[in-house]
């Protein structure tokens, strides 16, 4: 991982800037801010006792979330791609376009939340937007992606399924079964491994005997690529390309996005497995929001002031969501049996 | 120890005797053989004698009252014993004759056999007898593990222990016992380890035994264990045999006794002109269809009961249930007793259906294949002895019902017509027994009036 602002080649960079356009680019930066603020606020609420359970914060991983979703088509019905993500998925949901209010309400277990308060942080889904849900089981969503891919082929649409999982998931048996099936059946799936270099406490070098997860793709006959996960445009480039391939009928890809989480695995993690130094280094030198902000300012897309103002805008969005959620009602106990059977 | 003095049964058919007068008072000292009271039997007045030395205590009945035989009438205390805890009906305001349980015949020690001429002596050690008597254990329910089936002290001790436990009974047994106000402790269990089955309680409740799979013998003849314990006063003729009171016979005995003791029976007789019935039956016979008098009676009673709900009722504790449907039992004679299968919801059934059901259930009754359902939920009973050439009779009510109709045969008689001229009529006697706790005379009379109307003009049944 480099300290450089971006790993993209200059001509790629310009092409991407052209393709996406200033509005999209600004939206991407705002999203990253929103994710960061949302996560920070969620942490605060938790320590104040206003949210219960636990949460898996993705502070520091915003570029992967935003870059990946920008590379996909987000729409409803057969026009939109599918998303399957994991327990550290608030960022993915927000990047996909989920309503911040309803996400915060779900955090607080309210009836107005995405899952009517039944799912909580780890199981947020926005079915209408083809967001098929976060999964509390490591690699739980990976075999499901295979089914989604089969369904896309049977229905003969041009949809693609993006399944996001972590480095830890790449060692689950289900991951391997799914990669193999996706390959033999040529399914339109992007396996995005968000490698933040620690499973829970298990550091990557101890769990793998290969330097990059993406090397596993070859074992299944799939294309694999590793990108700087803190470079939002690099992630975008890789995912968009994979989506292109899938839509052309060339099947599945594995994209490894190397990033870092600033916070512990969950709220009960003392982080004994890494040094403060290491965390600080990433924050100071490789922060994805800082980098993108710098990039956009240098490219003349935004001014410094605009960049700073984005954080305020994001703050407002998140504040509003807290207000909304705290004013929302809890689910009615009488409805406790709802939603088990169709 | 305290001796309970019972009213002896002086004759075979004696159900009760009127206590004419007491000849002692509470606190009087008596010697064995002294007269305690004078009672009226169907033949002649008899004296009840003291069966032990001691002090008279706790007179149970006032003079002038009918006392069912074998009921305790007073106690004789030994020195040092007290009357505390002994039931004393006289000290209560109530004049009721009812007693909740009659002491079992077999709890009486054999040396007082003058009072126990009807049962075979119990084979038990004296100690066992004494302990059983102390605790009120009915030795008929205790199996003897001693030589020759003799009941030992240990057997009685076990029975005493069991007595204070909750009875082993199935849920079905408990349900039926509750519904029929039967104390489970009075029911003998046929299930494993003496568990009381629903069928055992149903048998006690419904004058009959439902045979599901393993029929138990209804009457067992056993020769008396020995002659030496029999009293000199009532010599056992050599030619007679002793049949133990058990099974269906015992059930009937207990039921009849309870019913007659507890329900103040009143009787109402009418004689019905059977011309209408005869005409209908003849008409059907000409079409090769069979309609029995009993079926018509069942339907006719349902018709009349519909107008007199207090006769279509059951009494349990202090609750009278007025049934909205007529479930009429028809007494069927068996070899060793009788059984009363029920036709349910008579008011909804046409005569032909009633006939079919009665035929079916009577056949199954004789074939010993009735089911529990067949005996359940009766609200009124009809007993027809016409086929035995009985002119008229009175029947004992089938608890928890409150009425029963006894039917005699149709007799051709001369009766005056409206001009006073003799004409021949066929007339059948119907005698209704009612429980006066629930049914008053006027109600009964009106019921019978309606019954006569519909039986003499069966066309009314279609209305």
């Amino acid at each position: 991982m480099t300290d450089a602002i971006s790993t993209l080649r200059l001509e790629d960079f310009h092409e991407i800037i052209e393709t996406l356009g200033p509005d999209e680019l600004k939206m991407m930066l705002l999203k990253m801010h929103t994710i960061r603020l949302f996560e920070e606020r969620a942490e605060q609420l938790y320590s104040q006792g206003r949210v219960h359970g636990t949460m898996h914060l993705s502070i520091g991983q915003e570029a992967t979330a935003v870059g990946a979703s920008t590379g996909m088509i987000r729409a409803t019905g057969d026009a939109g791609d599918y998303l399957l993500n994991h327990h550290r998925g608030h960022g993915h949901c927000l990047a996909w376009g989920s309503d911040v209010n309803r996400m915060m309400a779900e955090f607080m277990g309210k009836e107005s939340g995405y899952c009517r308060g039944r799912g909580g942080s780890m199981h947020i889904a926005d079915i209408d937007a083809n967001n098929l849900g976060a999964n509390g089981i490591v690699a739980g969503g990976v075999p499901i992606a295979v089914g989604v891919g089969l369904s896309i082929k049977m229905r003969q649409t041009s949809q693609v399924c993006l399944v996001i999982f972590g480095d830890g998931a790449a060692n689950e048996g289900a991951f391997h079964e799914a990669m193999n099936m996706a390959s033999i059946w040529n399914l339109p799936i992007i396996f995005l491994c968000e490698n933040n270099q620690y499973a829970m406490s298990m550091p990557y070098p101890k769990a793998f005997n290969i330097p990059f997860v993406s090397q596993r793709a070859a074992g299944y006959g799939l294309p694999g690529e590793t990108v700087d996960g803190n470079d939002v445009l690099a992630v975008y480039q890789a995912v968009a390309a994979a989506a292109e391939r899938a839509r052309r009928g060339e099947g599945a890809s594995l994209v490894e996005s190397v990033t870092y989480r600033y916070k512990g695995h969950s709220k009960s993690d003392k982080q004994a497995y890494r040094t403060r130094q290491e965390v600080q280094d990433w924050r100071d030198n490789k922060d994805p929001i800082d980098r993108f902000n710098t990039l956009l300012v240098r490219a003349g897309i935004i001014s410094d002031a605009e960049g700073a103002a984005m954080r305020d805008t994001a703050t407002q969005i998140v504040d509003d969501s807290v207000t909304f959620s705290e004013a929302s009602a809890d689910p009615d106990i009488a409805s406790i049996m709802d939603g088990v059977y169709a | 120890m305290t001796t309970a003095v019972i009213l002896p049964k002086f004759g075979f058919t004696l159900e009760s005797s009127k206590l004419v007068r007491w000849m002692v008072s509470e606190g009087d000292k008596v010697r064995e053989g002294d007269p305690l009271c004078e009672v009226e039997t169907d033949k002649v007045n008899m004296e009840v004698e003291a069966t032990a030395d001691g002090v008279v205590a706790a007179l149970q009945y006032p003079a002038g009252v009918d006392v069912p035989v074998t009921n305790v009438i007073c106690y004789i205390l030994k020195p040092g014993e007290s009357a505390d805890g002994l039931k004393n009906a006289l000290s209560q305001a109530a004049q009721s004759v009812s007693v909740t349980t009659a002491p079992s015949i077999s709890a009486i020690p054999p040396q007082h056999a003058v009072t126990s001429t009807q049962s075979a002596p119990i084979n038990a050690s004296p100690l066992a007898l004494r302990i059983a008597e102390e605790h009120g254990i009915d030795l008929a329910t205790v199996s003897g593990t001693g030589a020759g089936g003799k009941i030992t002290r240990a057997d009685v001790d076990n029975a005493v222990a069991r007595q204070s436990e909750k009875p082993r009974a199935t849920p079905a047994a408990r349900r039926i016992a509750a519904a029929s106000s039967i104390d489970l402790k009075t029911v003998r269990g046929s299930g494993p380890k003496g568990r009381i089955q629903g069928t055992d309680v149903a048998a006690a409740a419904a004058i009959g035994v439902v045979q599901v799979l393993a029929p138990t013998p209804i009457a067992v003849e056993k020769p008396p264990a020995s002659d030496t314990q029999l009293s000199v006063l009532s010599p056992q003729p050599a030619a007679s045999r002793v049949v133990k009171l058990e099974g269906m016979r015992r059930t009937i005995a207990t039921r009849m006794q309870q019913s007659f003791q507890q329900a103040p029976h009143t009787f109402f007789e009418i004689n019905v002109d059977t011309a209408g019935i005869d005409a209908l039956r003849a008409k059907l016979k000409a079409r090769n269809e069979k309609l029995s008098v009993t079926s018509l009676l069942v339907k006719g009673c349902a018709w009349a009961l519909g107008k007199h709900p207090y006769l279509n009722a059951t009494l349990a504790g202090d609750a009278i249930t007025l049934w909205s449907t007529c479930n009429i039992g028809v007494a069927v004679a068996l070899d060793n007793g009788l059984i009363v299968p029920v036709v349910h919801h008579v008011e909804t059934l046409p005569l032909r259906e009633i006939q079919m059901r009665i035929d079916d259930v009577a056949a199954r009754a004789r074939a010993n294949s009735l089911r529990m359902n067949d005996l359940a939920d009766g609200t009124f009973t009809i007993s027809n002895l016409g086929m035995y050439s009985i002119d008229r009779f009175t029947a004992i009510i089938n608890p928890p019902q409150v009425a029963i109709l006894a039917v005699g045969r149709a007799i051709r008689q001369f009766v005056p017509d409206e001009h006073g001229q003799p004409v021949v009529q066929s007339r059948m006697s119907l005698t209704l027994s009612t429980d006066h706790r629930v049914v008053d005379g006027a109600q009964a009379a009106q019921f019978m009036a309606d019954l006569r109307v519909v039986l003499e003009d069966p066309m009314l049944l279609v209305w």
Binding site: I137, A174 | G191
Partner: protein
């Protein structure tokens, strides 16, 4: 009417479902050219092609997950797990995904999948190929569990399971595949959660599942000669369970015997017994509620040992007779 075997009836049902609804497809190991380990899917590959009759690698978790994903996105997959024993490899996807997605997502999304699997012993396949694990799934909210006991029910229940919008665990029995009876050719449905009174009788209520239904029927014929009439009840759907006919029956007979192949401890029989004891039927019991089920051992290889591990016609006769005669 023509007779079909249980396997043929399933095949016909699946074929008819696939003919009428393009969303239905089959997926599992060796279901294509091989025709399925027990022949249920024979001929379907030829008729529908490899896109709709999908052979998979040996990847049970993948199969189950694929069913979930496809069902979530508009399809109606019918997956096959080759032996019920291997369902253990799909547990995460079935229990944590298929069963819970709808609830966790607040009642949105549904997973209309069927996962078929043959369970049961009697073929000498020994401990790892003879399991009866249906009660594990009864214990999971969100799943439905169906066990057809005969060819006619198999077809009707399969069609209903495919129609159902919930994940259905469809448990077949190896020894039933070859049993034959009249099966109508036109498609028909037997509703899920509809208990069947297979035989009326007034002395003992026998609740039986899967292959125990036919064994109980044979036992009933024998006992009828002794005047003992068994009432045999087949729940057909274990969850959600229609228990009213069972309760009513026990009210009538006062005696209940539950027969299943799965191990007795922790088995479905406990559920039925508790329901009986907790219902109105309690007041009508003339004897304790009895279960006759598998021994608490893995299925042994030796034939006699295998036979003795689970209820057979003879053991059903003995138990039912004892209950009828109030030996308990």
């Amino acid at each position: 009417m023509r007779e079909l075997s249980y396997a043929e009836a399933l095949r016909e049902g699946l074929r008819q479902a696939m003919e009428t609804d393009a969303r239905v497809f089959a997926i599992g190991e060796d279901i294509g050219v091989y025709g399925g380990a027990f022949g249920v899917t024979a001929g379907l590959l030829d008729q529908f092609g490899g896109q709709r009759v999908i052979d998979t690698p040996i990847s049970e978790a993948g199969i189950a997950g694929a069913c979930v994903g496809a069902a979530l996105t508009g399809m109606r997959p019918v997956g096959e797990i080759q032996f019920m024993d291997f369902v253990t490899l799909t547990m995460e996807q079935l229990v944590l995904q298929a069963a819970k997605v709808r609830f966790m997502f607040g009642g949105k999304a549904s997973v209309p999948m069927v996962l078929r699997m043959p369970g049961g012993s009697g073929t000498g396949a020994a401990a790892q190929h003879s399991e009866s694990l249906e009660n594990w799934f009864v214990h999971v909210p969100g799943l439905k569990v169906v066990m057809p006991s005969n060819a006619y029910d198999a077809k009707g229940l399969l069609l209903s399971a495919i129609d159902d919008d919930n994940p259905v665990i469809f448990v077949e029995h190896k020894l039933l595949y070859k049993t034959k009876m009249d099966v109508p050719e036109a498609p028909y449905r037997i509703p899920l959660s509809q208990t069947n009174i297979v035989r009326a009788g007034q002395h003992v209520t026998v609740v039986a599942t899967s292959i125990m239904v036919s064994r109980a029927l044979a036992a009933a014929d024998e006992l009828a000669k002794e005047g003992i009439e068994l009432e045999i009840i087949d729940p057909r759907t274990l969850k959600p369970l229609d228990d009213t006919p069972i309760i009513d029956s026990v009210k009538k007979t006062g005696r209940a015997l539950i027969v299943h192949e799965a191990v007795e401890i922790g088995g479905f029989g406990g559920e039925i017994a508790a329901r009986i004891a907790g219902s109105e039927a309690f007041d009508y019991l003339e004897a304790p509620v009895k279960r006759l089920a598998g021994l608490d051992i893995p299925i042994p290889y030796n034939r006699e040992l295998e036979r003795n591990t689970v209820p057979q016609i003879e053991s059903i006769i003995v138990e039912a007779r004892k209950l009828a005669q109030t030996a308990y």
